[in-house]
């Protein structure tokens, strides 16, 4: 479903990714772990198309299409979702308006009918409820005044509403307490665990993986995948740290 081949990328002329190769087949959840500065967030941003993140070599395809040739909004319409490590605040625009316009923009791009305001609110309320978020929060400006944990949970509500085919989740677990971690983990399973969907889950900690149970775990170090395995690898890392476990 997502195929990354020998991907090299630079940020401000500094090489960050040095040949990442990775395939996530449909129906699977893959986790990427790695120390700070190993390139995890850069990989997420490159996949979503953040300006300034330049690919210097290699490539990535999403369901056979050249992902890197698409604009960020085209990637979203194709079904790619990035869960941000630091969700962005947008004063003056309510979550409801933001997500309704986003969803309808995606639907237009796919040749689908737009969702009416009433239908949209129904979907939004339902998703907020499933993630145990007060749906009144959706009336507030995007992420303004939200705590770190609330922002992360709101990212998952967005994912539930936009219903992507593939999600890249960048440290969605950071800043969450134990209960929120469970709710977010269940949310990822509910929304994304399907035969025609896939997830690339970037995390520092093994704890979320106990909820989500990835099919594969990869270790990213110095811009390259140095090890791959199953969830046992994540447990080893948790116990021994990256230096030991990578050897």
């Amino acid at each position: 479903m997502l195929k990354i081949e020998n991907l090299h990328a630079t940020v401000a002329d500094k090489p960050i990714l040095n040949g990442v190769s990775l395939t996530v087949p449909a129906g699977e959840v893959h986790a990427i772990m790695g120390p700070n500065g190993s390139g995890k967030s850069t990989l997420a941003y490159v996949l979503a198309g953040r300006p300034g993140y330049e690919v210097s070599e290699g490539g990535a395809t999403f369901e056979g299409r050249d992902l890197l040739a698409m604009e960020p909004h085209e990637r979203a319409a194709a079904g790619l979702f990035l869960g941000f490590q630091y969700p962005v605040e947008i004063p003056g625009i309510s979550y409801l308006q933001f997500l309704r316009e986003s969803l309808n923009s995606q639907r237009r791009a796919r040749g689908q009918d737009e969702l009416s305001a009433a239908d949209f609110i129904k979907v939004a309320r339902e998703q907020a409820k499933l993630l145990e978020m007060d749906s009144e929060m959706l009336k507030r400006p995007v992420n303004v005044g939200f705590s770190g944990g609330e922002k992360k949970r709101a990212e998952m509500v967005q994912m539930g509403i936009l219903a992507p085919r593939f999600a890249v989740l960048d440290e969605t677990d950071s800043g969450l307490d134990i209960d929120a971690l469970r709710i977010v983990g269940e949310g990822i399973n509910r929304i994304m665990r399907a035969p025609d969907k896939g997830v690339l889950l970037i995390t520092h900690y093994e704890r979320l993986l106990e909820h989500v149970r990835p099919d594969r775990v990869h270790v990213l170090q110095a811009g390259r995948i140095t090890r791959s395995g199953d969830i046992e690898l994540a447990r080893d890392l948790e116990r021994e740290g990256y230096t030991e476990a990578a050897v």
Binding site: A48, G49, R50, P51, E71, P72, H73, R75, A76, A77, F81, L82, F84, P87, V88, E89, I90, P91, G92, I93, Q97, F98, L99, E101, S102, L103, S105, Q106, A109, P141, V142, Q158, L162
Partner: protein, 245 residues
């Protein structure tokens, strides 16, 4: 008696469209006086009217502990001027949330003089401008803190967004302080949309033009978040933005 017609040499008229003002000067030469008595509260929304030249000149006096909160949208097709002189007695509280939205050859300006004369007054002024074409949008804001008006807390935040090269924003916060225990902050930026906000919106599926339009809307609409009855100004601002974006 009509007050003498202003000239550009007067700082507060420096960016005015005096040609547009001339024919209507008689009607506006004297500011309207509004008094908010001690301990009373006033909240007003000033909407644009259907005229090419729109002038509003108000002198607002806030008594002890009085509160005033003004929401204003300045978007005249030719010349719009909102001029406000505010006097704050002890413990008075003044908040202004204003937008200049201008297109074509229009000039829209918000000109204020906020005078803290009593102890412990608080003033907040937030002005956002969105301009395209050859439009001019200005904020000239003077804060005066009188001798003895200790513990004054004054803030001015001015931001402008220029959508075309020919558009002009003038942002001029000014402080005149004669007390030594005061907090006066001001910030002014003229810029472009936040790159991270743009990417965030696009990553959710908005094409670049829609993302830009949405963020511009937020740039202005954030002003009315605190209005008790903000529906009309929200609608008017949305309408004005549609003609600019």
């Amino acid at each position: 008696m009509t007050a003498p017609f202003p000239t550009r040499k007067q700082e507060e008229w420096r960016y005015a469209d005096l040609d547009a003002l001339q024919p209507v000067w008689e009607r506006f030469s004297e500011p309207m006086t509004v008094i908010v008595g001690a301990g009373e509260e006033l909240e007003e929304v000033w909407l644009p009217v259907a005229e090419d030249v729109q002038v509003r000149r108000v002198s607002l006096a806030l008594g002890e502990g009085a509160k005033a909160r003004l929401f204003m949208l300045n978007t005249a097709p030719v010349y719009g001027r909102i001029e406000l002189e505010v006097t704050l007695a002890q413990g008075a509280d003044f908040e202004l949330f204003g937008a200049n939205i201008g297109t074509a050859l229009s000039t829209n300006e918000i000109v204020t003089k906020v005078k803290h004369v009593g102890i412990g007054g608080r003033s907040r002024q937030t002005v956002r401008s969105v301009l395209n074409g050859k439009a001019v949008g200005s904020y000239l804001g003077k804060v005066e803190v009188a001798r003895g008006a200790q513990q004054t807390d004054a803030e001015q935040s001015v931001k402008a967004m220029l959508l075309d090269r020919g558009a002009t924003a003038n942002c001029k916060p000014e402080l005149e302080i004669f007390a030594d225990d005061v907090k006066c902050a001001h910030g002014a930026t003229v810029g472009e949309l936040d790159a991270m906000q743009l990417f965030y919106a696009e990553s959710r599926g908005l094409d670049p033009a829609s993302a830009r339009a949405l963020l511009l809307e937020g740039f202005v609409m954030g002003l009315w978040d605190g209005a008790k009855d903000g529906d009309a100004i929200r609608e008017a601002a949305r309408e004005a933005l549609r003609s600019v974006v």
